[in-house]
C-alpha cells in the first residue's frame, strides 16, 4: 500500500520534472489548436500567402498579356463555350482570369500587412509616449488621437484617392503606396489608444515598480517589460486590422479609386466584371467570393486569437 503510494508519487514527480512550465504563449497555442474555425483561417491564409509569393510560377499566363488568338469574356471551363487554355475564362481584354486572381492575392495581402505594420510603428510609439510620460503629453497626444479617430476613414480614403490618384505619387506601384499612406494616417489612432491603455495599467504594476526601483533604465523597462506584456491585445488588434484594410482596398478599387488598372486586384476585377453580371454572373462572383473568404479567414483567426490569448474574455 505505502510502497504503491510512494511509487505513484515518484512517477508524478518525474512527470512534473519532465513537463515544462506552461506560459501564456504555449497555453494560448493549446487553446487555439482546439478552435477549428481559427485553424481553418490559418490554413487558408497560409495557402493564400504561398500562392501570392509563388504567383510567378503558379499563374498559367502573364496576368497582363493579351493573347492575339483568344476571345474576350470566354466562360470558365465548366460552362459551355469555354477555351480550354483558360481555366477560369478570360476578361473583356482576353486576359486570363485565373492568373489575374492569383496576382490579385499579392495585392490583397500586401495591402493588408504593410499599413498594419506602419500603424503599429506609429501607434505604438505615440501610445507608449502618452501612457508613460502622462500629464500634459498624454493630454495633447490623446486629444489629437480623438480628433483623428472621429474622422470618417472611408470618406478620407475616397477624397485622398480622388484628389491624389492621378499624381505621380498616387501612381506609384499602381496606387499601392498612396493606399499604404492613407490607411496608416487614419489607422494609427486605434493602435495608439490600445497601447496607451496597456501602458497605463502596466505602469503601476509591482514588477515595473520593482524594476524602476532597482534602477533599470526606462528604455529597457519599456522593451523588456511593457512591450512584451502588451503583446497579446496588440496581436489581436492587428489580426482584425488586416481584413479591414483588405476590404478598404477592395471597396476603393471597386469604386475605381484604389489600385489602378492594368494591375489586377480583386476589387478592380469586381468593378470590371460587375457590368457583365447579366451576361454571365460567374465572372463577378469569383473575385467577390475570394474577398469574402479572405475576410472570413482573418476574422475567424482574430476571434480565435482573442479567445486564446485572453481567457477572461471568453464566456
Amino acid at each position: 500500500m505505502t510502497v504503491a503510494k510512494t511509487e505513484q508519487l515518484g512517477a508524478l514527480r518525474a512527470e512534473a520534472a519532465q513537463s515544462k512550465p506552461r506560459g501564456l504563449w504555449s497555453d494560448a497555442w493549446r487553446r487555439l489548436k482546439k478552435n477549428k474555425a481559427a485553424l481553418a483561417g490559418v490554413a487558408y491564409i497560409a495557402v493564400l500567402a504561398l500562392i501570392a509569393i509563388f504567383a510567378k510560377f503558379l499563374a498559367p499566363h502573364d496576368p497582363n498579356f493579351i493573347p492575339a488568338d483568344a476571345l474576350a469574356n470566354t466562360p470558365p471551363v465548366w460552362q459551355e463555350g469555354a477555351d480550354r487554355r483558360f481555366l477560369l475564362g478570360t476578361d473583356s481584354l482576353s486576359r486570363d482570369i485565373l492568373s489575374r486572381l492569383i496576382y490579385g492575392a499579392q495585392i490583397s495581402l500586401v495591402v493588408g500587412f504593410i499599413p498594419v505594420a506602419l500603424e503599429l510603428l506609429l501607434g505604438a510609439t505615440v501610445g507608449i509616449m502618452a501612457g508613460w510620460l502622462g500629464g500634459r503629453w498624454d493630454n495633447v497626444l490623446m486629444r489629437m488621437v480623438d480628433v483623428v479617430y472621429a474622422f470618417p476613414s472611408l470618406l478620407f480614403f475616397i477624397v485622398v484617392s480622388s484628389a491624389l490618384g492621378s499624381t505621380p505619387f498616387g501612381r506609384m506601384l499602381s496606387g499601392l503606396v498612396l493606399l499604404f499612406v492613407a490607411f496608416a494616417v487614419t489607422g494609427w489612432v486605434t493602435m495608439a489608444r490600445l497601447v496607451r491603455g496597456q501602458v497605463l495599467t502596466l505602469k503601476n504594476k509591482e514588477f515595473i515598480e520593482a524594476a524602476r526601483s532597482v534602477g533599470v533604465p526606462t528604455q529597457r523597462i519599456i522593451w523588456r517589460h511593457v512591450i512584451p506584456n502588451s503583446l497579446a491585445p496588440i496581436i489581436v488588434s492587428v489580426t482584425f486590422g488586416i481584413p479591414g484594410y483588405i476590404l478598404a482596398e477592395a471597396a476603393l478599387s471597386y469604386l475605381g479609386l484604389g489600385i489602378h488598372p492594368p494591375a489586377a486586384s480583386w476589387g478592380n476585377m469586381v468593378r470590371e466584371f460587375s457590368t457583365l453580371i447579366s451576361l454571365n454572373a460567374v465572372f463577378v462572383l469569383m473575385p467577390a467570393a475570394l474577398i469574402a473568404l479572405t475576410m472570413l479567414a482573418f476574422t475567424f483567426l482574430g476571434d480565435g486569437l482573442r479567445d486564446a490569448l485572453d481567457p477572461q474574455m471568453t464566456k
Binding site: 486629444r143 470618417p152 479609386l257 472570413l296
Partner: protein, 309 residues
C-alpha cells in the same frame, strides 16, 4: 450633465475643422486648377477668355489664406457652391436630390436589422451554449464579416439575373428590396452580437438573481428585468447605426445603381466635380460625427460613470 454635453458638442468642432482643412488642402494640391476641372467637366470646350470671370465668380482670384477662410465660413453655412457638371445647380441641391433615396434605404435597412437582430441576439443569449446560440452566433459572425457589396453581387446574380425577380437597373420600388436586405443583414448581425453580449451581462447581475430568489416567474424575470435593461445599449446604438447606414450606402448604391447620395458622390469623383465631392464629404462627416456624439450623450445620461472618465 449640461457641462458634459457642452464639452462633447464642442469637441466635434476640431473634427469638422480637420475635415474642412484636409479637403481644402487636397483641392489645393490636386494637379490642375479648379478651372481645368471645370473645363474638363464641360468637355474642354470652354474659351480661356472666360477663365478670369469664372475664377472671380468663385472667389478663386483671392489669396489662398482668404479662400481658406471663405471655405470654412461657407462650409459652416452648408454652402458648397455650384456643381461643375450640372450648370446652375448648387451642391446642396445635388445632395438633396440623392439624399431621400439614401435616407429611405438607410431607415428601411435599420428597421429590418432590428427586427432580425434583436430577437436573434435575445434568443442566443437566453439559450447560451446551445445549438440555437451557435447557429445565430455563426450567422452574426458571417453577416458582420462578409462585405456588403460582395453579398450584394451574390444577391443580384441570384435574384436579379437567375430568377429575374427584381430589375437590374433602377426602375421602381422593387429596386429597394435588395439594397435594404443587404445592408440590413450586415447591421442585423452587428445588432445580434451586441444584444447577445448585453443580455448575457444582465443575466449575471445580482438583481436578476434576487428577482429569481423572490420566486418571480421566469417570464417576468426575463421580460421585466433582463430584457428591459439588456436592450438599453441596443436602443442607444440605433442613432449611430442609422448614420452609418446612410453613409454605408455609398458602395451599395453603386452596386444596385440607386440614384442616391453615394451614387452621385462617386459620379462626381469620376467627373472631378470638386465642389460636389467636398460638399458631400462634409455632409457625410456631419452625419457620422453627429451619430457618434449622440451615442456618447445617451450613454452619459444612462451611465453616469462614463462622464467621469
Amino acid at each position: 450633465m449640461a457641462r458634459f454635453a457642452l464639452n462633447r458638442i464642442l469637441w466635434t468642432l476640431p473634427v469638422f475643422w480637420l475635415v474642412i482643412t484636409v479637403t481644402f488642402v487636397l483641392i489645393q494640391v490636386t494637379p490642375g486648377s479648379p478651372w481645368d476641372a471645370f473645363n474638363a467637366a464641360n468637355g474642354g470646350r470652354l474659351s480661356p477668355d472666360l477663365r478670369p470671370t469664372w475664377e472671380r465668380e468663385h472667389g478663386l482670384d483671392k489669396p489662398v489664406a482668404q479662400q481658406y477662410v471663405n471655405y470654412i465660413v461657407n462650409s459652416a453655412r452648408f454652402q458648397f457652391g455650384e456643381s461643375y457638371t450640372q450648370q446652375g445647380q448648387t451642391v446642396s441641391q445635388r445632395i438633396m436630390e440623392g439624399f431621400p433615396y439614401s435616407a429611405r434605404i438607410g431607415i428601411y435597412a435599420l428597421v429590418l436589422a432590428a427586427v432580425i437582430g434583436v430577437p436573434l441576439g435575445v434568443i442566443a443569449a437566453l439559450k447560451q451554449n446551445t445549438m440555437v446560440d451557435y447557429v445565430s452566433l455563426f450567422f452574426a459572425t458571417v453577416g458582420a464579416t462578409v462585405p456588403s457589396f460582395v453579398i450584394g453581387f451574390f444577391m443580384l446574380a441570384f435574384f436579379g439575373v437567375r430568377l429575374n425577380w427584381v430589375p437590374i437597373l433602377w426602375t421602381d420600388w422593387r429596386n429597394y428590396i435588395l439594397p435594404v436586405v443587404v445592408l440590413g443583414i450586415g447591421t442585423s448581425a452587428f445588432i445580434a452580437r451586441l444584444t447577445r453580449a448585453s443580455i448575457l451581462e444582465i443575466t449575471r447581475q445580482d438583481y436578476v438573481r434576487t428577482a429569481r430568489a423572490k420566486g418571480l416567474p421566469e417570464r417576468t424575470v426575463t421580460i421585466r428585468h433582463i430584457l428591459r435593461n439588456g436592450l438599453i445599449p441596443v436602443v442607444t446604438i440605433m442613432g449611430p447605426a442609422l448614420a452609418a447606414l446612410i453613409t454605408g450606402t455609398i458602395i451599395i448604391e453603386n452596386v444596385f445603381g440607386v440614384p442616391g447620395m453615394g451614387y452621385l458622390y462617386i459620379q462626381s469623383i469620376g467627373a472631378r466635380d470638386y465642389p460636389v465631392i467636398m460638399g458631400t464629404t462634409l455632409f457625410y462627416t456631419f452625419f457620422i460625427v453627429l451619430g457618434n456624439m449622440l451615442v456618447d450623450l445617451t450613454y452619459g445620461v444612462l451611465d453616469p460613470r462614463i462622464k467621469a472618465s
